[in-house]
C-alpha cells in the first residue's frame, strides 16, 4: 500500500487530501507542523510527501525545510510542494533542493493524484 504524508496547517485541506487518497487505496498520515512532520519522517517510511510551503505565518517557508530534511537524509520519498503564493525564488530554491513537483494552490485533487501517479511511475 502506498504510504503518504500530507502536511498543511489548514486541517480542512489535509483532511480533504487524506480522504481522497485513502479512497484511492493509500495510507495517509497528516501533520500540521514542521516538527510533527519531521518526527514522522524520522520514524516512518513514506512513498510520497505533499507539503504546503507555508506552515507558520506569512513569511514561512517550512515546506522547503521539510524538502531539505527528506533530501539530506536520503529518504526515498517523492516530495510535492504546493503554495498559494508562488514566487520565482521559492520555486527556484525548491528545484535546487530537488523537489519532485511544485504546484500552485488550489490544486484539484484529480490533478494532484495524476502528479503523484506519474512521479511514482518513474524509477529513482
Amino acid at each position: 500500500m502506498r504510504q503518504m504524508l500530507v502536511i498543511d496547517d489548514e486541517r480542512v485541506i489535509t483532511l480533504a487530501i487524506k480522504n481522497y487518497f485513502t479512497r484511492l487505496g493509500s495510507a495517509v498520515d497528516t501533520a500540521a507542523e514542521r516538527e510533527e512532520a519531521e518526527a514522522l519522517l524520522a520514524t516512518r517510511r513514506y512513498d510520497v510527501v505533499i507539503a504546503d510551503v507555508r506552515l507558520e505565518g506569512m513569511d514561512g517557508r517550512e515546506g522547503l525545510d521539510i524538502l531539505r530534511f527528506v533530501r539530506e537524509r536520503c529518504l526515498d520519498a517523492r516530495v510535492v510542494l504546493m503554495t498559494a503564493y508562488p514566487s520565482d525564488s521559492t520555486e527556484a530554491t525548491a528545484r535546487h533542493l530537488g523537489v519532485d513537483a511544485f504546484l500552485k494552490k488550489p490544486v484539484p485533487l484529480q490533478h494532484m493524484a495524476n502528479v503523484v501517479d506519474s512521479l511514482l511511475r518513474v524509477a529513482r
Partner: protein, 263 residues
C-alpha cells in the same frame, strides 16, 4: 499557528503510562527485577507512539517540560506495582544537562507517591556529544546521592557509545533489541554482547538485554553472561493495574509471601 501539538501533549491527562517487566534469571527460574515505565502520547494523534512523540518533543526542544511530566505521571501510576521491583524511568541527557532541579523534583515526586528513591533507575536516552559536561555530571551525582541508579539506554546504537559509558558510568547497560534479537543464530551479535557483559562486569555494572522475544535467544544470551532480560518473551508493556495482577513477582515479594505461607 494558534494551537500546537505540544499544547495537547502537556495538557493534563494527555499522557498515559505502560510498564514492562525486566526479569532476572536466577538458576532455573526468573524473578521480577524492575519495571520500565513507557509513555504513550495523546490517543488519536501522531504522537501516541512513543518514538514519534519523543522525536517531536526533541525537535520542539521541550524535553525538560515533557520529561518532568512523564516522570511524575509514571510515578503516580506506579504505586500499584510490586514494591520489591525497581522502577526504570527514561530521561533525556539534555534534560539532565539543562534542568538542574530535575533530580530533586523527581525524588520529591517519588516520595509523594510513596516510592523510595532507591527503587528508581534513570535510563538516559538520546545522548548527543557535546550536550553534556559539568551540569550533566552534577545531575547524575545528585541522583546517585538520592540513592537512584543510572542506566544507559540503547547501548550499541547511535550515540550510546564508549564515551557515553565513560560520561555516565552507568549501573546498567541496556543493550538494544538490534543486538539481542536473533543473537542465538548470529555469532557476531553474541560476541558483541559477550564483550559488553565482560565490560560491564569489570566495572560492577549489569547488562540488560532488551527486545528478547525468543526462547533460543534467552538461552544464548544467558550463555554470554546476561542475566537481566526485557522483551515480549517475558512480558509486553501493560498498564500498572494489569502488571500488578501478575504473573511476575520480585524476589523480595516472593520471600515475604513464603514467610507468610510458612507462618
Amino acid at each position: 499557528m494558534e494551537f500546537s501539538l505540544i499544547d495537547t501533549i502537556v495538557a493534563p491527562g494527555s499522557l498515559s503510562f505502560l510498564f514492562q517487566p525486566i526479569v532476572h534469571a536466577a538458576g532455573s527460574s526468573y524473578e521480577l527485577h524492575a519495571y520500565e515505565a513507557l509513555t504513550r502520547g495523546p490517543a488519536g494523534t501522531n504522537v501516541h507512539a512513543a518514538d514519534v512523540l519523543f522525536e517531536y518533543v526533541r525537535r520542539k526542544q521541550e524535553e525538560v517540560r515533557v520529561d518532568r511530566l512523564c516522570v511524575a505521571g509514571a510515578l503516580r501510576a506506579a504505586v500499584l506495582l510490586d514494591p520489591g521491583a525497581r522502577l526504570n524511568l527514561n530521561v533525556h541527557a539534555s534534560t539532565l544537562t539543562r534542568d538542574a532541579g530535575f533530580p530533586d523534583y523527581v525524588c520529591a515526586q517519588a516520595a509523594a507517591a510513596g516510592i523510595g528513591a532507591e527503587r528508581l533507575v534513570f535510563e538516559i536516552v538520546e545522548y548527543a556529544p557535546g550536550s553534556t559536561g559539568a551540569p550533566f555530571a552534577a545531575a547524575l551525582e545528585k541522583l546517585r546521592r538520592h540513592g537512584c541508579a543510572i542506566a544507559l539506554d540503547d547501548v550499541g546504537l547511535g550515540n550510546s557509545n564508549y564515551r557515553m559509558i565513560l560520561d555516565s558510568r552507568p549501573d546498567y547497560y541496556k543493550v538494544d533489541r538490534f543486538l539481542a534479537d536473533g543473537a542465538a543464530a548470529d555469532p557476531y551479535r553474541l560476541a558483541i554482547i559477550r564483550s559488553l557483559a565482560s565490560l560491564a562486569g569489570a566495572v560492577g555494572a549489569t547488562v540488560v538485554a532488551e527486545g528478547v522475544e525468543a526462547e533460543e535467544d534467552v538461552a544464548a544470551l544467558r550463555s554470554a553472561g546476561i542475566s537481566l532480560f526485557q522483551g515480549f518473551f517475558f512480558g509486553r508493556p501493560k498498564p500498572a493495574a494489569e502488571q500488578a495482577a501478575g504473573p511476575w513477582m520480585s524476589k523480595q515479594t516472593m520471600s515475604e509471601q513464603k514467610t507468610f505461607e510458612e507462618a
